[in-house]
């Protein structure tokens, strides 16, 4: 095995499930069937099983480490397990699935690139299976595997498997999680764990181990934004001053210009030093020593970055935290904030809401207890240099340390610069912080261009922006149009106010400022969809000219078609498909367009369609023709 050219990769994954789901048995099975269990370990387990009077050897005993757990037969702390195949080395963060151990799941998930969620085929999708999915998503684990276990106890029934897959897919859809892999297994019998089972001829996917060996590694790494938190200054003598650190993201090469934060001073990388010789360039994950061309005072906690790709800077950040201590949170109490290699003072200046991990409902809260998750505003005495956790796990995460006990009491993930959500609803906030930077983000050069996408698709990308009163027929037209385009093989994406407000824009109300932000996000989303080659159908009341102009400005000239779906107010009031007009007129809904809030009619729309006069089919035909005339669709 030592003379092939194969590369051994490393995959860190976590497993979540309760005692009864057979998680320990599954891990035991993976270790046993991949021949990672040694004879003496197996003998010890056989001895222990026999002494407890178990009929069969309990593979779970291979992993249940501490004496207390062995006695209670439950796993109480994160345990790390290792096994390897000729292709990969695996590190398993084995985390307990009980509600009281959310903290352990979060811990295990923080370094994982894949999560296995176990579901007992007899029980189907339970609350806790959803909780595991929610936490995995919160921690941004890129790959999710749902292992439907104990298939042997349901006679390997495909219908049962299919129903669980459907249930979980519906749930994952709400979480906006994509690419969940489902595998029917029996950890006890070994079906589809390492070897393909002959009991599930209806399943043609990979075995669990095959999937673990082939899933893309490094998906959680950010290869773009160079961030280098300085860990330690290396100074063997007067002639050498180097900055030791591990590259948190991106890459750096000798001679590149850099900026040091917080001083803002700039210099160039003189050398990248390692004990194995100097390097020309170094990448995310490498532990190196950088020397600079200029003598600058740099110490632990500083961050070296590229001049044209700076992190965010703020002493007030919007974050999701998980409380990890028996001691409840002290509202506005002082904590140490450990972020990258920096330690600063801070406090939780606002507790917006806590999130029930089972229902995902938001609840008001005055403090936080062990295992609770909340959205907070964190204020620090010195500014943090950070990226959103979504973009960068290293510069987007922090822990809180209680200065009285020195214990780690919370783990946090930064969402963005702090902003006051209530203010947003009141409409008092200025728009500047609502339009966060994008200029500093360097998009990957090796990406696929829009032209390449359009060439393959056989049509151009465009944004069709449907504007008009609630109930005017925007969605009805767009859905019918999309069906027609879909049938013709056109790549499409459909966005509307409802599907955005249920997820992406769930934090927004209906004040003018919130509506503006709603449209800004919708516009940015439409832009991304456009950039990926789709004919994007966006249905938003979008009553304000300025907002529509903003959306128009996001894509190329000639590719934005504003479609004014015109309908007489009296007609839409009579239609009142969602019963909203009645409520607005009764005063139950504020700021309702057409009743208590204005609708600014477009005067520069590419198309005007009138739903109180034309039929839906006529309108669809009219739009198709317009797309052909403009060369967006082939004639």
């Amino acid at each position: 095995m030592t003379d092939t050219n194969q590369q051994i990769e490393l995959l860190r994954f976590t497993t979540a499930g309760s005692v009864d789901d057979g998680k320990s048995t599954l891990i035991g099975r993976l270790l046993y069937d991949s021949k990672s269990i040694f004879e003496d370990q197996m003998e010890a387990v056989e001895r222990a099983s026999a002494s407890r009077g178990d009929a069969e050897v309990d593979l779970a005993l291979l992993t249940d480490g501490l004496r207390a757990e062995r006695e209670q037969k439950i796993t109480i702390d994160v345990a790390y397990r290792y096994f390897a195949t000729p292709k990969r080395k695996f590190i398993i963060a084995d985390t307990p699935g009980h509600i009281q151990y959310t903290r352990n799941m979060v811990t295990g998930a923080s370094t994982a690139e894949l999560a296995i969620i176990l579901i007992d085929a007899r029980n189907g999708v339970l609350t806790q299976s959803k909780r595991h999915g929610f936490l995995a998503t919160l921690l941004r684990i890129p790959h999710l595997v749902v292992a439907i276990n104990k298939m042997d106890l349901v006679d390997y029934d495909q219908a049962i498997y299919d129903r669980i897959v459907q249930d979980y897919t519906d749930f994952a859809h709400k979480l906006n999680v994509q690419g969940v892999t489902y595998i029917p297994v029996s950890a006890l019998r070994g079906d589809n764990v390492v070897d393909k089972s002959d009991k599930t001829p209806w399943y043609d996917g990979p075995t669990l181990l095959h999937h673990l060996e082939n899933v893309n590694v490094g998906a959680s790494l950010n290869n773009v934004d160079f961030r280098y938190p300085v860990q330690y200054v290396i100074r063997p003598n007067q002639d050498f001053r180097g900055y030791a650190g591990q590259i948190a993201s991106g890459r750096i090469a000798k001679g590149e210009e850099v900026v040091i934060l917080p001083s803002g001073l700039s210099s160039k990388v003189a050398s990248i030093v390692t004990a194995d010789g100097e390097l020309d360039a170094a990448n995310v994950g490498d532990s190196v020593v950088l020397t600079l061309e200029d003598e600058i005072d740099i110490s632990r906690g500083d961050m070296i970055v590229r001049r044209h790709n700076l992190p965010q800077k703020s002493n007030r950040v919007d974050a999701i935290i998980c409380w990890m201590s028996e001691e409840p949170m002290k509202p506005r109490g002082a904590y140490w904030v450990q972020h990258t290699t920096r330690l600063v003072n801070g406090f939780i200046s606002e507790l917006n809401y806590k999130i029930d991990v089972d229902t995902m409902h938001r609840e008001p809260a005055d403090t936080l207890k062990l295992n609770e998750i909340a959205r907070v505003q964190l204020t620090t005495t010195q500014p943090l240099y950070y990226d959103r956790y979504q973009l960068n796990r290293t510069t987007g995460s922090f822990v809180l340390i209680d200065p009285a006990t020195n214990n780690t009491v919370a783990a946090g993930m930064i969402r963005s610069k702090s902003r006051n959500v209530d203010q947003l609803r009141e409409g008092e906030v200025d728009t500047a912080p609502l339009r966060p930077k994008s200029s500093n983000v360097v998009w990957e050069q090796e990406g696929i261009s829009l032209a390449q996408r359009e060439e393959r698709n056989g049509h151009k990308a465009a944004v069709l922006w449907f504007t008009g009163l609630s109930g005017s027929g925007k969605s009805t037209i767009a859905k019918k149009l999309e069906r027609r385009l879909f049938t013709d093989g056109v790549r499409t994406m459909y966005l509307d106010g409802d599907n955005l407000r249920h997820g992406l824009n769930g934090d927004l109300g209906f004040s003018s400022a919130a509506r503006q932000e709603n449209i800004r996000r919708a516009g940015e989303l439409a832009k991304l969809s456009y950039a990926h080659g789709n004919v994007t159908l966006a249905c938003f009341i979008s009553p304000f000219t300025a907002d529509r102009r903003f959306a128009r400005g996001l894509v190329a000239d000639g590719r934005f078609l504003e479609i004014f779906v015109k309908c007489d107010l009296d007609v839409v009031k009579r239609r009142d498909t969602k019963g909203l007009y009645a409520k607005a007129i009764a005063g139950e809904i504020d700021n309702f367009t057409g009743i208590s809030s204005p609708y600014e009619e477009p005067d520069n729309a590419e198309l005007v369609v009138e739903t109180d006069i034309q039929s839906v089919d006529e309108i669809v035909e009219q739009i198709i023709n317009a797309l052909k005339e403009r060369g967006i669709l082939p004639v």
Binding site: M1, I8, F38, Y82, F240, T274, D286, V289, M324, I401
Partner: protein, 298 residues
Amino acid sequence: MLYNHLKILESEAIYVMREVAAQFERPFLLFSGGKDSIILAHLARKAFYPAAIPFTLLHVDTGHNFPETLAFRDALMEKLGARLVVRYVQDSIDQGRAVEETGPYASRNGLQTVTLLDALAEFKVDAAIGGARRDEEKARAKERFFSHRDEFGQWDPKNQRPELWNLYNGRKKTNENFRVFPISNWTELDVWQYLQMEEIELPSLYFSHERDIINRDGVLLAASDVVYPVAGETVERKVIRFRTIGDMTCTGAVESTASNIHDIVDEVASARVTERGARTDDKRSEAAMEDRKKVGYF
């Protein structure tokens, strides 16, 4: 074979060592002369290159070490230019701090803890870096990289600080200290592959050689002044090597003809018994390691 995983594990260990140097005032590195501590010394050199290793190395000598280990230790310190202090279990016994076990099965392995804790107190060590790995034994699977110890050097498995991402919290009260395990995530196979990749020199004990052996309950012990045959046991000449090197009284050999690292990597990859399986100290009870850890054993 490209060991991508080893580069990741190496970088992680270097990161942890640098965190120790940055967060603590008097960090020590525990050096036993075994392969894991040799790797630690190697990683420490890499972590701070071109500067010297900023840790003092501490060896707790049971007095029952293989002579080869001690010779190798002294040569390595000279090569690394590292500062080494040695503390002796014999001194602890002479001072009445530890009581020697008697009889043919006597081992000083447990007594090391007394000498170790005394040495840590003597030098006011606030972080002791060790080469323990989570794959070695079940109780170690839950150990943290930064493992907090109370003022008595004890470990409370139910009260460990959560460790997330790569954020290591080394804050502590006076008189408390930390054990730090930079190679927590390495397995025995990783260790051997790394030794091979980095061409690291090892004591000759790890390679196949002929030696007088006593087979005691399936464990092959080297015959010496401190390990001698009792009734029913014989001394046999065997071709063996050691998979771990600890105290002579409890370190078992394996029969092997692997005489270079390449052969050992292949042997380990196909091994069917864990390396600690050859150690008598873990066999005493199912929770043996957990009990020893709680009182301060590594």
